[in-house]
Symmetry: D3
Subunit: 270 residues, 6 copies
C-alpha cells in the first residue's frame, strides 16, 4: 500500500481496513480524501488478496462530511457567465460523485463501522457501502439541508433504497439527528454495538466470515444485488443465468461440495 | 385563498394547512373534493409564500374514502357498448388519479396528519403525501377489495414503495384494518401521537422546522427523492448534478454558510 | 388433481393446499419437484375454483433446498468446450427459474407456511410467494454462498424488494441463519406462530378471508402489485386505469355494493 | 368551436382542421398560440365527433417558430438570484412543453401539412404529430442552435425516434436547412406534394380514410404506437392484451366483420 | 420432424425450412397453426443441428393472417359478465402472442421469405423474424384496422423498431397496401427479388452463409441485438461483457483464428 | 498535445483532428491505441479551445479493427479455472469498451471520416461517433462473426440505433461487406464523397460550421440526443428543462440574439 494523506490502509487476513485518518479535523473530507479514495478502491478491486473491506474513521467520530474549505474553493473558481459556471459545477459534482461510485462499484463487499458524528457527506459515503454497523452513540444527520442545498453525492439517490421512504423524506427535509438505536430501527444500520471497540471487533468478525467464502460466489452475489437495485426481476434472472453460465464451471463449486461432504472448511483460491 | 366546499385552507407562518372539511360525511371524497384538491395544490405550487403543507381531516376521522354517491353516478353514465364504456371509464379513472398526482407532484413537502378512519381512497391519498403521522387510534384499511375492485387511484402504485412488500400484499388482499401502532411498525407512518391534539401540534412542529429551511434546498431534495422512486441510481446522480449546477449558484448557500459561521439562524427569501 | 411424486395437493373451500411431500429427504427439491411445480401452478391458474394457494412442507421442515443429486447430475453432463457448456448451463438455469416464475406469475395469491429448515433454494421459492408466515422455530439461510456459488433461482432478484437492502447483503454474503423472530423483524415473514399447528391454522384463516373476496378484485390487485415491483408509478397508474376500464364493468362491484348496503356477506362467482 | 386568436379551427366530415393563423407574422408562436393549442386539443380529445386532426399553417409558410417577443419577455422577468431564476425558467419551459404534449397525447391521429418555412419551434411541433407531409418547397431547420441554445420543447426528444440518429445530430448541430425531398428521404415526412394545394388535398384524403375507420380501433392503435416509443416489447404485448380485453367486446368488431362479409362499407358510431 | 397439419418442415444443410402449408386457405392461421409453431420453434431451439431458419408460405401467397373461423370461435365462448370475459380474452391474446414470441426468442436467426399477400396477422409474424425478404409482387397490409380492432399479436410492438415511426403510423391507421419496392424503401424488407423462385433461392443463399458461421458467435450476436431493442447502451455493454466472459473461452475462436491464418474455411461443431 | 504512438493529433481553428496513425498496419488497434484514445478524449473534454473533433485514419484505410496480436496476448494470460478466467476476461472487455465510451461520452461532437477498410473493431469505433462520412470506396464489415465471436466493444449495442433493425441483423450475422453508397442508403453514413481528399475537405467544412456555434448550445444539444438514445420522452423533456434552467441564463443567448438582429456573425467565448 502506498502512503495516503487522508487515510490509513491495512491489509490482514484478506480484510482491507480503510480508515479515514484526519481525526483532528473530525475526518472532514478534503481534496486528498476525494482523490485517494478512488485510488484505494481501485487497488482493492485489482488486488485478489483483498476479499472484503472495512471502512472506519479514526478517533471519536466517523466523519463530519465535506471539508468546508473545499466547498469554498469551488465557489471561488466561478466566473461571471451563469452558463459556463453551471458547466463547471456540473463537472465538479460528477467528479465528487465518482469518488463514492468507486465504493459502490467495488467488486468486494464494503462494511462501514460508524461511531460519533456521521454527518452530511458522511451519509452519502455510507449509503454507497454494502452494510453499515454503528455504536449506540453514533449521530447521523443529512446536514446538507442546513447548508442551503440538496445533497448531491449520493444520499438522496442511494438511501431511499435502504431505509423507508417516509422516514427518508423526514430526515432529508429536517436534517434531524438520529442515534444508533433509531438508525437500527429504520434499517440504516444492521446492528448496534455498545462502544467503538465492540463495534470494530464485531464488524471485523463479520468481515472474517465473508473473507472465508469463495470469492467467485461473493463477487457474483454482490454484482446481482447491486444490479437489482436498478433493474427488473426478469432482467435480473437472465443476468444471473448468463453470469453463472461461466461461474458454475469454476473449481470453487467442487471444492465447496467436497468440503460439505467431508464436513471440513474449504480453502478457496484468491 | 378562495372559498372551497370540501376543504378549509389556511396559511400561516409559511405553512398551508389543508383540511378536508366534510366532517358530517366522515370527509367522504365527493365531486367537489376531487376538483378542489387540484386547485388547492396548484395554488400551493404557484405561491412562493407556502413552504410546506399539512393535510388533515376535520372532525373525528381523517376520511372514509371516495363518496359512494360519486361512484354510483359514474356507473349511471355507462351505455351499452362495452368498448365505449371502457374508453369512458379509463378517462374517468385517469381524471381521478390526476387529483392525487397533484399532491404527489407538488413542489413543497406535504405532511399528512391522520386520526380515526383512513379508509379506501384515503389510503390512496396519504400514499401520495411525503410523510404520514397519526394518532394511536387511527384505523387504516385498503377497503377497495371489499367493494369488488382493485384500488385504482394510487394505493397499489405508491404504497409498495413505502411499506414492506409482504405486508403490502396482506393488507391489499384482506382489507384488514390496522391501528396506529402497527402502521408505525410497518413504516406506513413515521410516528404516532397520543391523540388528535398532540398529533396536530406535533406535525405542525415538524412543518415549522421544514418551513425554516432554504426553499431552494427543500425543493431540490423533494424532486430528487421523488425522482429516485422510479429511476436508476446513475440517472439520479446525473440529474442532481444537472440540477445543482444551477442551484449551487443561489444566494441561499452563502446565506446558510454565513449563518453557520456566526451560529445564527438564517432567513431565506421565498 | 393428478398424482404428484414430490407434492401433495388438496383443494377445499376454494383454497388449494400445495405441500412439498418428501419429508424423509427434508423436502429437498429433486427433478420431480421442479417439473411438477409448473404443472401444479398451471392447474391453479386454469382452475377458477381455486382462489388462493397455501404452500407448505410436510414433516418437520419446510425444505432444505435443491437436491444435491440434481446438481451433481447437471455437472456430469458438461463436455469439454467451455462455450458450449456455458450455453447448456444457461439454459438449465433458465429452466429451473421457470419453475419459480410459475409461482410468482400465478394469478392467485400464494401464502407460504414455513417451519424448521428453509434453506438455499427454499429461500428462492418463498421469495416468489406473495406472503410468508412461519413458526418461531423456523431457520432461514441463503446457503448458496457456502456451495461456492451465487444463488441463481430468484433469491437475489426478489428478496431485496422484500427485506431491507443492508440486511439482504449481510444474509447473502454470510449465509447466516436467522430464526422466525428475526425474520419477522426484517419483514421476511408477516407474522410468526408458536408452532407448526398454529402456523397452518393461522395461514388457512388468512387464506379463507382472501377466498371470500371477489376473484376479479383479488386478481387485479395481485397483478398491480406484481407490476409495481418493476415499473414506474406513472406507468402503474396508466395500467390500472386500462385494467379497470374493463373490470369495473363486472357484476362483482354491484354485488359488493349491494352486500355493503344490506350488511350481508356477498357471494362472488368463480 | 370558440374563437381563437392564433388559430382557425374547422370541423367537417369528422376531420378537425387546425390552422395556425398569423400569416403576417409567418405564424410565429406567440403567447396566444401556446395557450390556445392546449384548449384546442382538449376540445379534440373531448369531442367524439372529431376522429382525426389536420394541422397546417395559413399563408406561404407553416411557421417560423417561437415568437422572439415572447422569448424576450421571459428574459425580462428574471431577477438577481440564479437559483430562483432557474426555478422560474424550469417551470416556464415545462409549461411550453405542455402545449406540445397536448398534441402528442391527443387520442386522435394528428397529420401535419407543411409548406414554406418550418423552423425552430415549428420542428418541435411537427415532431409531436403522428405523421408529417410537405410540399417540395418546404424548408426545415433546427434553428435553436443559432439562438445560442439547445432546443427545449421537444425536437431533441422526439425527432431521434423519427429520423436516423446520424442525420439527426448533423441537423441539430449545424442548423442546416433541408427541403421537402431530403425530408422525405430521411423519413421526416412520409410524402411530398408538388405545391401547397396538392399538399392539403392529399393530406385531407388520408385523413378521410382514417376518419372512416372504427374510432375504437384507431385510438387503440395510436395508444400502442405511442407506448412503444418508450417501452419494452414485452410490456407492450401485456399492455395491448389488457387493452383489447375490453375493446374486443365492442360492437365495432361485429360491425366490421359483417361489413367484410357483405363487402359493404361499415359505419361506426363515434 | 413430426407431422404437422399447418406446416411443412424440412432440415437440410443445417437450415430448417419452415413452410406454412395451407395454400388453399391462403395460409390462414388456424388453431393448428398457433399451436404447432410453438412446437416447431421449440424443436429448432433444442436441436443443435439447426443453425438457421427460413420461414415461407406454400403457394402464391405468404399468408392472409388469422383465420376468421378462429376469431369467431373465440367470440362464441364469451359469457355475460364483462369482467370475466375480459379475463378470458386477456389470457387468449397472451396465448396467441406466445406463438410469435417463440419465433422472436428463438436462439437461431429466422429469415422470412414473402410473396403475394402478407396481411394482418402475417405482419405480426414477420415482425417477429430477424430479417425479411420479398418478391416485388408482395402485398403488405396492417389489416386489423379494418376488422375494427388494434393489432394485438406483435405488429404494433415490434414493427416501430423496424420501419420509420411516421410511416408506421400511416400504415397502421390506414391499412394501406404497399408492394415489395415500397417495403424495401422503408426498411420493412432487406431486399426484393424478381419472383418467388428467385426469392427462395436468394434467401437460402443468405441462410447458408449464416449456417457456416460459428453457432456460438451467431447465437451471441442474436441475443445482443434482441437485448438492445429494449435496453440501454450501458446495460448492453455490461451484458455482452458478461456473456463473452464465458464464450471467448470456446474453441470456436481458436478455430476461426487458425482458419483465418491459413486462409481456409473453418468447420465449427454444432 | 503530448506525443502519441498510435495517433496524430492536431488542433486548428477550434477543430481537433484526431488521426489513427499506423498506416503500415492498416491502422490496426494495438495496446497503444486503446490507452491513448482515452487520454486524447480526456484532453478534448478538458480543453475549452476544442469545440469539435474529426476522427480519421492515416493512409489508404480507416482501420482494420483490433490488432490480432493484442487478442492473442489476452488469450495467453488465461489460467486453468474457468470462473477466474471469466472474471479476468469480463474486466478486460469492460476496459476495452471504456476506450470507445470515452468517444461516445465526449462533450464535443465527433465526426468520423472513413475511407478504405472499416472492419471489425473499426465499426465499433465509428458507432460511438456522432456522425459518419465516407468516400465511395469505403468498405464496411462487422468482421467479428468470422472470428468466431459476438462483437463486444459497441457495434451490437450502438449500431441498431443508427441503421435499420433488419439490415443490422443481416450485416451482423453474415459479416457482408458494404460500400459507401449502400452505407449512405441505410443511414450508416450521412453522405459519401468522391475520394479521400474530398471527404476530408467536406468533413472539415461541416466541423467548421459546428465550431462557430455557441459551445453552450452544442454541448446541451449533444447531451440531450445522447440521453434520448436510452430514455423516455417524458424524462427527456424534464431533463432539458432542468438543463436549460441554468443554460438560458448564459450570455450566449443574448449574443446570438443581438447578432441575429444585426445580421452579424456572433463570436462565442470558449
Amino acid at each position: 500500500m502506498s502512503d495516503y494523506k487522508a487515510f490509513r490502509v491495512e491489509l490482514a487476513d484478506k480484510i482491507a481496513h480503510v480508515q479515514i485518518n484526519r481525526p483532528d479535523k473530525i475526518n472532514a473530507m478534503n481534496a486528498d480524501f476525494w482523490r485517494e479514495i478512488i485510488e484505494i478502491f481501485q487497488w482493492v478491486d485489482d488486488n485478489d488478496a483483498v476479499r472484503v473491506v472495512v471502512l472506519s474513521g479514526a478517533g471519536k467520530h466517523f466523519s463530519s462530511g465535506i471539508d468546508l474549505m473545499l466547498l469554498a474553493s469551488v465557489g471561488a473558481q466561478l466566473g461571471k457567465d451563469v452558463g459556463r459556471n453551471a458547466s463547471a459545477l456540473r463537472r465538479k459534482i460528477l467528479e465528487l460523485q465518482a469518488s463514492f461510485n468507486a465504493v459502490d462499484n467495488c467488486r468486494k463487499p464494503v462494511l462501514a463501522a460508524i461511531q460519533g458524528y456521521c454527518i452530511g457527506g458522511a451519509i452519502d459515503l455510507i449509503s454507497a457501502c454494502d452494510m453499515r454497523y454503528c455504536s449506540v452513540d453514533a449521530q447521523f444527520s443529512i446536514k446538507e439541508i442546513d447548508m442551503g442545498m440538496a445533497a448531491d453525492v449520493g444520499t438522496l439517490q442511494r438511501l431511499p433504497r435502504i431505509i423507508g421512504d417516509g422516514m427518508m423524506r423526514e430526515l432529508a427535509f429536517t436534517g434531524r439527528t438520529i442515534d444508533g438505536n433509531e438508525a437500527a430501527r429504520i434499517g440504516l444500520v444492521n446492528r448496534t454495538y455498545e462502544d467503538q471497540e465492540a463495534l470494530l471487533a464485531g464488524v471485523m468478525e463479520i468481515a472474517a466470515q465473508i473473507a472465508a467464502k469463495s470469492p467467485i460466489a461473493v463477487r457474483g452475489t454482490k454484482e446481482m444485488i447491486r444490479y437489482m437495485r436498478d433493474h427488473r426481476v426478469d432482467d435480473g434472472l437472465e443476468y444471473i443465468a448468463t453470469w453463472n453460465a461461466a461461474m458454475l464451471q469454476s473449481e470453487d463449486l467442487r471444492l465447496a461440495m467436497a468440503a460439505h461432504m467431508t464436513k471440513q472448511k474449504p480453502e478457496f483460491a484468491d
